[in-house]
Amino acid sequence: MQSNGDRIRVIIAKVGLDGHDRGVKIVARTLRDAGMDVIYTGLHRTPEEVVEAAVQEDVDVIGVSILSGAHMTVFPRILDALKAKKADDILVVGGGVIPDDECEALKKLGVKEILLQDTPPAEIVAMVKRVVTERGTR
């Protein structure tokens, strides 16, 4: 199903100046404990750096956490950078503090799924598995 053996590969990213990393670290651990290969970028990355790393690491999914309110700037830049690298088969999902109407707007732009605060770990794992399955082989 995935491009690289049978383990789902995920890069978990923090973009921009937002330093809230409590949630992102929980998500990274949760996915790792569920048997996925997880890379965490650390803080303050640019969208271009994240996409570069995602392509190099040949991941299935990029998960971006953002709690600063800059999501309408950050996600479009990531999606554009993926297109520019012809790597838009890499799925983008998001999490953080994002108003409901902007979640909808981001999904229209191509973000696959957005999980907000207090999403139980099991649901996070199920969501990542689901979007990868839905994409199918690449």
Binding site: I26, Y40, G69, T73, P99, Q117
Partner: protein, 573 residues
């Protein structure tokens, strides 16, 4: 019980040996009869109970539980070891400072909010800055895109600072500036503004957060590597000690350690570790602890576990007093009394049924007051959505006013002092804090362990445990994993973000750049480098000259990056 046994032989703080033996027999018999009989019919809700921080909770507490607590450790308010409060009269004299943090958009936007809050009875100001300002980027830097004026107010130059406090007499109200890696520049702007207005610097009261170690550990706002970052903090402390007698040059903060997921014990213990690192750094300049310690200030969260939080506050006051006297040789009592600002726990607020956040905040605020806070911020009910609206802030302020004026709790000092449970928990906290300090000392100290991610890992571990407990329902969160409303629709008006903010802010910045004497700024920036290269010099005076000459925060920060480089974390999860 008789008086002779009480005074001669003291196995505990409140009962003598004979009385203690009797009490022990009573407790055993009570467990064997009344309790056993009751439990056989109606079992307790859980096999064991613990605080949110993991401290075991017994069924009930008696005088026997004070065995480890000497009476003098409980003491009296305003007297060593300050367990019962830093001042002898506490809120009977003046209630705590009601200090609601505010900041968004441009300086003009925030100035308007400040005036609104003052009009509604707020007694101290607290300023939230946007991410670029916090990280030392000018508003037109590429990293600032999408962030200008969003989470706080944008400040690039002294001109912004002048508008932020326009029409507010800074000698009449204390001002807190919540900023860290770029804090010294903000402090320089505050001093430059005060000088322009002709204020006596010793008349200014307020606080700048400037606690960089907890940034590396928890909040994750940084610019330079650890060593030069700590040197900047040292310079803020020594500058204020010599020039601003009433100003707190640092707010050693546990709040962010908690919000990043750390346990309540780690919250207070890590602040003590950080305190030790800063004091040692300042002492290296030859300054005696009594010359600066009276103005060291602290900042803690009040979380949901009501009694644990109160014990936490009382314990950390006692630990601080002992550290300052015994480890650092403080002689002045003012160097030994811990004063703290408190904020209710933002991460405890929920989106589901958000109205009930008012109740959460009210209970947390009450624990801060019973714990003896000097100032308090209560969160807005809508903070799980966005920064708070005016209405949410007014309700939050009214919550404090109800505690102060209606509840009666402010009329007696440390009303929970002497509670068997609370005193026992306070002492357990004290011992656990000292144990962590010993562990950090033994492994090479705070700065080394910060660099090695020791603190960061402990915080991430507790955060993960908490998430698992929330998911399983072991940690109930009303509206989230218990008493959930199906198909809840949020009908809530949020604080809007003005999309013109960045444009307005950058226009102002460009105006300053055009009108200032660029040659003078360049010369001062070279001087800044020379000062930075010499660790015996203080970075504050040249920074004050720089901001007065119109240098932006970005000018100063970028120049020093050429000397010091930047910090990059080694991420752990």
């Amino acid at each position: 019980m008789n008086d002779t046994t009480l005074s001669k032989n003291r196995p505990s703080a409140t009962v003598g040996a004979t009385a203690a033996q009797q009490l022990e027999r009573d407790v055993a018999s009570w467990e064997g009869t009344e309790v056993a009989k009751f439990i056989s019919k109606a079992p307790e809700r859980q096999a064991t109970f613990t605080t949110q921080g993991g401290f075991p909770i017994k069924r009930s507490y008696t005088a026997l539980d004070l065995a480890d607590t000497p009476l003098e450790d409980i003491g009296l308010p305003g007297r060593f070891p300050y367990t019962r409060g830093p001042y002898p009269t506490m809120y009977r004299g003046r209630t705590w400072t009601m200090r609601q943090i505010a900041g968004f958009g441009t300086a003009d936007d925030t100035n308007e909010r400040f005036k609104y809050l003052i009009e509604h009875g707020m007694t101290g100001l607290s300023t939230d800055f946007d991410m670029p300002t916090l990280m030392g980027y000018d508003s037109d830097h590429p990293m600032s895109e999408g962030e200008v004026g969003r989470e706080g107010v944008a400040i690039d130059t002294l001109a912004d600072m002048e508008r932020l406090f326009a029409g507010i007499d800074l000698t009449k109200i204390s001002v807190s500036l919540t900023i860290n890696p770029s804090a010294w520049i903000m402090l320089a702007m505050y001093v430059a503004l005060a000088k322009r207005r002709g204020y006596d610097l010793n008349a200014l009261s307020g606080t700048i957060q400037a606690d960089i170690l907890k940034e590396f550990q928890a909040q994750k706002e940084w610019i330079y590597p650890i060593a030069p970052s700590v040197r900047i903090v040292r310079d803020c402390i020594t500058y204020c000690a010599q020039n601003m007698k009433r100003y707190n040059p640092i707010n050693i903060s546990g709040y962010h350690i908690s919000e990043a997921g750390g346990s309540p014990l780690d919250e207070v213990a890590f602040t003590m570790c950080n305190l030790i690192a800063y004091v040692e750094e300042v002492q290296k300049t030859g300054m005696h602890v009594d010359e600066f310690a009276p103005r060291l200030a602290f900042f803690y969260v009040c979380q949901a576990d009501f009694f644990e939080e109160i014990a936490k506050f009382r314990a950390v006051r006692r630990v601080y007093a002992k550290i300052m006297r015994d480890r650092f040789g403080a002689k002045n009592p003012e160097s030994m009394r811990l004063r703290f600002h408190c904020q209710t726990a933002a991460a405890s607020l929920t989106k589901p049924q958000y109205e009930i956040n008012v109740v959460r905040t009210g209970l947390q605020a009450l624990s801060a007051v019973l714990g003896g806070a000097q100032s308090l911020h209560t969160n807005g009910r809508d903070e799980a959505f966005a920064i708070p609206t005016e209405e949410a802030m007014r309700i939050a302020l009214r919550t404090q006013q109800i505690i102060a004026d209606e509840s009666g709790v402010a009329d007696v000092v440390d009303p929970l002092g002497g509670s068997y449970f609370l005193e026992s928990l306070t002492t357990q906290y004290e011992k656990a804090i000292f144990k962590i300090i010993d562990e950090v000392d033994a492994q090479g100290g705070t700065i080394k362990l910060t660099d090695e991610n020791w603190f960061q890992r402990r915080i991430a571990d507790f955060a993960y445990e908490t998430a698992i407990k929330k998911a399983s329902g072991e940690k109930p969160v009303i509206g989230v994993n218990k008493y959930v409303l199906a198909d809840e629709k949020f009908d809530i008006e949020l604080h809007p973000y003005d999309e013109t903010t960045a444009k307005r802010q950058i226009a102002g910045l460009n105006k300053v750049r055009k009108e200032r004497d660029n040659a003078k700024v360049a010369k001062l920036l070279d001087e800044l480098i020379a000062v930075a290269k010499d660790p015996t010099k203080n970075i504050m005076p040249v920074t004050i000259e720089l901001v007065d000459a119109g240098a932006s925060m970005g000018d100063i920060v970028e120049k020093l990056k050429t000397l010091w480089g930047t910090y990059r974390e080694k991420p752990v999860f």
